[in-house]
């Protein structure tokens, strides 16, 4: 694998980071939630009205986002806390933000040379679907679509490098 500095300087389109992002996502769900994510398929479409975001700054600038619906977010929190999904309250946004944060950290630590040169923001979680994101990305974003307990989750990474 080429180091991150070389890839970013050369203006690569980062498609070969998609498998790393995919692995980073799966590891977080397996280690912290005890769940194996499965392959996404179109029939599992849903209104993804919760979005967690973590900013990246430094050698690689960008935005990593995790989108899912309320049911999935509640299920994530319940698995992380050992609670019944129906009893999950304000912890839901906190849990979703932490999952997003761990994915971002796990992903950047998998890229050669990126760990030292890229910092993460604390996560932000927004609700609803009627919004636009204006990022300073200068390349097509990466996207990983997977199923968490048969519910879709979409992880996107917008990069400016």
């Amino acid at each position: 694998m080429k180091p991150a500095t070389e890839m970013l300087a050369a203006g690569h389109r980062h498609e070969n980071w998609i498998p790393l992002l995919d692995v980073a996502v799966r590891e977080v769900f397996e280690l912290m939630l005890g769940c194996h994510l499965t392959e996404w398929s179109p029939e599992h479409d849903a209104v993804l009205d919760l979005t967690a975001m973590v900013g990246l700054a430094g050698q690689m600038c960008g935005l990593l986002s995790l989108r899912c619906d309320q049911k999935s977010a509640a299920l994530m929190a319940s698995k992380m806390l050992g609670l019944e999904p129906e009893t999950v309250g304000p912890e839901m946004a906190d849990a979703l933000g932490e999952v997003c944060n761990m994915i971002a950290g796990n992903f950047k630590n998998k890229i050669s040379g990126m760990g030292n040169g890229c910092m993460l923001s604390v996560p932000t979680v927004i609700t609803g679907t009627d919004y636009n994101v204006y990022s300073n990305a200068d390349s097509p974003g990466l996207e990983v679509r997977l199923l968490f307990e048969n519910e879709p989750v979409i992880i996107s990474l917008q990069i400016r490098g």
Binding site: V28, L31, M80, L81, D94, E98, N101, A104, N109, N116
Partner: protein, 128 residues
Amino acid sequence: MESVRALIVDDSSVMRKIVARSLRQAGIDLSQTLEAGNGAEALGLLRENQVDLILCDINMPVMDGLEFIKQLSTIEKAKGVPVIMVTTEGSESHVVQALSSGARGYLRKPFTAEQVKEHVVPFLGVKS
């Protein structure tokens, strides 16, 4: 195994609970668990409470984990208490900075209970 009083510092309440649960899963008997949402809160708790172990995130608002470790030496009750960083920031520079500031160990999120055991138990003087 002797019971342990732990302070868990993380801006995520969910993560604080996960860390506490992972400590129990690692076989550590927690007699008391204090929680703080940032380094400044943690320093306040340490002025009033004696603990045996501190687990601390790095990226936090108000006061981050690295600044917290630097200021820890000013608190008499915290002297000699092992600090383990628990964070998504797994870069070499962060590890070096944390260890040179006084952290005894470093645990990268996401983690397993086995990794918690491996990184924490040795500092409690407990045979794993």
